[in-house]
Symmetry: C2
Subunit: 209 residues, 2 copies
Amino acid sequence: MEREISQAVIRRMPRYYRYLDELLQSDVERISSNELSNIMHVTASQIRQDLNNFGGFGQQGYGYNVQYLHDEIGKILGLEEIHNVILIGTGNLGHAIANYVKFEKLAFRMIGLFDIDPKKIGSEVGGIKVMHMDELKDFLKDHQVDIAALTLPKENAVSVANELVDLGITAIWNFAHVDLELPGDVVVENVHLSDYLMQLSYSIAQKNK
Amino acid sequence: MEREISQAVIRRMPRYYRYLDELLQSDVERISSNELSNIMHVTASQIRQDLNNFGGFGQQGYGYNVQYLHDEIGKILGLEEIHNVILIGTGNLGHAIANYVKFEKLAFRMIGLFDIDPKKIGSEVGGIKVMHMDELKDFLKDHQVDIAALTLPKENAVSVANELVDLGITAIWNFAHVDLELPGDVVVENVHLSDYLMQLSYSIAQKNK
């Protein structure tokens, strides 16, 4: 596919995947774009437009085959590959991230946890022993790591991110409250929690106007 | 202001606020849109367009007064008001959220934590004692609550959200992995963690093509 797909469309794809997953779990085999529109609260035309970016998947008069559409969106999102994930910073947020996402199901597998706090080294989170950052280099020699999650304070995030990139990491899931400046071939997904809180505060202010 | 401002612009405003806050902390008094463009990696024209949605704030030949722009964006984001926040679900993510965001500074104040797990009731998180959900109704009689953060499993999120709305809560910061269907006057900001992970996975798949 040569044409660039807009960020807005890409941001909506995981939501389609999530709904299709629930439909599958409810043994729904096929669904019309109108029905999908009703449960997702987006217009049927939006759904058709979004999916047409990737080739359509629907059939006139039949709608969508749920399993097929689920799997195709999964492929688009790269979920047919298992991604090995490591996490740096095993505070509360690190614990939450290590446990929260159903990694296996979503094609993500947590394989290593790292910290610098002596109190945390050797403890277990979700069955994985926390290692010292000094062990990271050797760990990366022995393991393929596809994604590093950064759940550490802003103050350390920039230097750790640079270290990770030097060691060959090319995808970062960043929870530290700072924008990372990394080489262009490194993909970064930021989750700036307080940005979302400020958006909520904006919505409240708008409503109270 | 009558004109609807696009979601994309609103999503960018917290980032401006964050950068201006850092400039203030570095005692920068004024900045041109070109300089701001360089540090934020967005075009100067994008910055001017974004800010013009709210009335501009810049002066030809001077640029932006950092304190003034910071404070004006703060007002737009509703940060001149203190928001009282409660949190439902004191697992790892709840702990992280209660501690992570610098609530005071950002005009958010955590005032109550709730759970249903007997092991958690009475324990303290960030100096606040965890209460049982049964105490929520009385708590809301005595306290103004502006935002409820939901950091609890998807299975309980829908019923708890409905209960909160029945009790008068009108803004929800939802971390549960489900879209809440609530009355139109309730504002909801979703943080679906695995959606972000899937976006990252998409970017990795695109890069490896």
